[in-house]
């Protein structure tokens, strides 16, 4: 599952927490109503802290994720070995072998419509992906650390045989 499992875990924890809190607040001592002013004044007092909490968490998470952005830098591009990927309805033109433990850059484009260049690792999880757009070249920097056969699937709807559009390469 790769990172997908981690994200799913975070999602389930957060979703269950939100659901529990909301159901609790909705049902808590619902037989003993309070006047709206009482609830509102308590709620407004709390809301200030809640606002800052959400804002700070949002900004912190944003800052923390920035180093993990997948976008290429000019310096990395000069050092890495480049491989051409051309997508078209309904196949990929790919390198047969990609080196292990060395920075590589896939120069990805398309001959006809938009496609997605989705790389699935030997364990079946998504390693990375980038769009293949006609007339444009997307540069996807990667360093493979696990040898094996990598599957490539199309990750942007491209026509009737979209589901069958795949390819692969070996990392060694």
């Amino acid at each position: 599952m790769g990172n997908g499992g981690l994200i799913l875990g975070i999602f389930i924890v957060m979703a269950v927490a939100a659901m529990t809190v909301m159901l609790f607040l909705g049902n808590y001592r619902s037989r003993e109503p309070l006047p709206q002013q009482v609830v509102a004044s308590r709620g407004y007092a709390l809301r200030r802290y809640w606002f800052w909490l959400v804002l700070i968490v949002a900004i912190t998470v944003f800052m923390v994720t920035i180093p993990f952005f997948p976008y290429p830098s000019v310096r990395a591009s000069a050092r890495a070995e480049h491989f051409t990927v051309i997508a078209q309805q309904y196949n990929f033109s790919l390198p047969a072998v990609v080196p292990l433990n060395r920075p590589v850059i896939f120069d990805v484009t398309s001959k006809d419509v938009n496609h997605g260049f989705g790389i699935y690792g030997p364990n079946g999880a998504i390693v990375s992906q980038v769009q293949a757009m006609p007339g444009y070249i997307n540069h996807l920097p990667l360093t493979f650390t696990i040898p094996g056969h990598y599957l490539v699937r199309c990750l942007e709807y491209c026509g009737i045989a979209h589901a069958g559009m795949q390819g692969g390469f070996d990392v060694r």
Binding site: P72, I126, M133, A161, A163
Partner: protein, 489 residues
């Protein structure tokens, strides 16, 4: 005087029920279409890929239109209580919606159009397996819906500007920035649901304009293939239009919280400065959040990716700090009875928050690498639409029916509907999220393992949901036939 008032009220009700009835009818049709596509992925009734994509295209656009029409109907009725609105324009817009819907159905079923509604140029023209007229009918159908939507927005915008005194009054600028002067002069800010109307109309106008630019460009390309478009430009416009329109359906239906929940709890939802500021934020975020659809286009300008992530995060604040927070405060210790209407509205808020969490995770760029165009994406928007927008609309319908007849549904009925629509819905959605976490791509007629397994789970969930929805429909029918006891609102 009284008679005019009654007929005025009737105009609002006529428009609302026409819109809602049509919207829900389209919803039921598209629900069945959606179940067929998911069952096909599960291998239960395998479709050939062509039919699969035609039905998927129809399901997508039909559902968005169904939700939008229902939400616009509710909002129109609520706005009609505050200001003058011409019924004829509402019905002209309705005519556009219907004509557009007929066009897309004709295009997808006999025409076999199969390139979805947020198709990325040069898509509906390359490698087609359907006749050219189906492409044209599809594009024109979408344009008709957009024109109807812009008519609705134009009317609402005009009425809001006249009623509250220009953009400043409509967005309550003075109420927030010069609160003391404003309140001392005895003025009142617009009620909360009017901000929903204002943001829908304002952003809807922008969305519609952009939608018509890309729509007209595609129609021109259809008639004259020598007119080439820039694929990156087309993708930006397509998602600006598509994302904003889909997102706006939520803000249309949110009026259910502002007006429906107070009816259930016998409390009041007032306009407050934080609420107004929250809506200003929403006004902006609805338009710029679409950047997250182009995270995997590395040629997109880099600042847009950064803005996309932070804007998608901040878009959560108006929801969880103001609107839903306020909704929970309304219900908390109010002694509210969990009638069907109240249940739907409250569950709709939960669905909104849960779908929002999934959306925010997906809008995180490093996570998007793993989730982009996997089944996680339909997972999050089905949560929004099915367990959010739809529940707000059903909640609003039931609150009205319950108030009208002064009646409620039995415990067993409520349990059956709850288990069916929330339990079945949860199973259905889990099928998307789990498959997405495993990296199963979306929009695959035939999914790689473990896709089909989760698709069969999801189909079961959807069938349970359908059963709950049928009971819900029967219950609505029963309530609607009870004699009227009290006027609405």
């Amino acid at each position: 005087m009284t008679s005019t008032h009654v007929s005025e009220q009737n105009a609002g009700l006529r428009v609302m029920w026409t819109y809602i009835a049509t919207g829900l009818a389209i919803f039921v049709l598209m629900l069945l279409v959606g179940i067929v596509t998911r069952a096909s992925q599960a291998g239960w009734l395998p479709l050939d890929p062509g039919s699969f994509y035609s039905l998927l295209s129809l399901h997508g656009v039909g559902m968005i239109v169904a939700m939008a029409i229902s939400g616009l109907g509710v909002l129109w009725y609520l706005a009609r209580r505050e200001m003058e609105l011409d019924e004829s324009i509402a019905f002209i817009a309705y005519g556009f919606f219907l004509a557009g819907t007929v066009c897309v159905i004709v295009s997808a079923i006999p025409g076999r159009y199969g390139s979805l509604w947020t198709m990325l140029y040069p898509l509906p023209f390359v490698g087609t397996y359907w006749p050219s007229w189906a492409t044209g009918t599809w594009l024109i159908g979408n344009a008709l819906v957009m024109l109807g939507f812009m008519l609705w927005c134009g009317q609402m915008l005009g009425a809001l500007l006249a009623r509250y005194g220009g953009v400043r009054g409509m967005l309550a600028v003075d109420y927030v920035l010069r609160n003391r002067d404003f309140t001392q002069s005895g003025k009142k800010p617009p009620p909360p649901q009017m901000f929903a109307a204002a943001i829908t109309a304002f952003d809807g106008f922008i969305t519609g304009t952009v939608g018509l630019v890309i729509g007209t460009a595609l129609i021109v390309h259809w008639m004259d293939p020598s007119v080439a478009l820039d694929p990156l430009w087309a993708k930006n416009l397509t998602y600006l239009f598509g994302h904003s329109f889909a997102n706006l359906t939520m803000y249309m239906a949110v009026a259910g919280i502002y007006v429906g929940l107070p009816l259930c709890t016998k409390r009041e939802y007032h306009t407050s400065p934080p609420l107004v500021v929250a809506w200003w934020g929403t006004l902006l975020f609805v338009i710029i959040a679409y950047f997250h659809h182009l995270y995997m286009d590395f040629v997109q300008m880099q600042w847009m990716q950064f803005v996309g992530e932070i804007a998608s995060y901040l878009a959560a604040i108006p929801v969880v700090v103001v609107t839903v927070y306020g909704g929970v405060m309304l219900v908390h210790r109010s002694g509210m009875r969990w009638s069907l209407g109240a249940m739907f509205l409250y569950a709709g808020m939960i669905g909104w928050v849960v779908g929002g969490i999934a959306a925010v995770l997906d809008a995180t760029i490093p996570a998007n690498v793993d989730l982009h165009n996997t089944l996680w994406v339909p997972g999050h928007f089905h949560t929004y639409l099915l367990e959010g927008v739809l529940l707000f609309i059903l909640g609003w319908v039931f609150v009205n029916l319950e108030q009208r007849a002064q009646a409620a549904s039995g415990l067993l009925t409520r349990w059956l509907i709850g288990v069916g629509m929330f339990g079945g819905g949860a199973l259905f959605l889990l099928g998307f999220y789990l498959a997405g976490a495993f990296g199963v791509p979306r929009r695959y007629a035939v999914e790689p393992a473990p896709g089909p397994f989760f698709a069969s789970l999801a189909t079961m969930g959807a069938l349970i949901f359908l059963a709950g929805f049928v009971i819900c429909g029967a219950e609505a029918w029963r309530l609607a036939r009870l004699p009227k006891r009290q006027a609405v609102g």
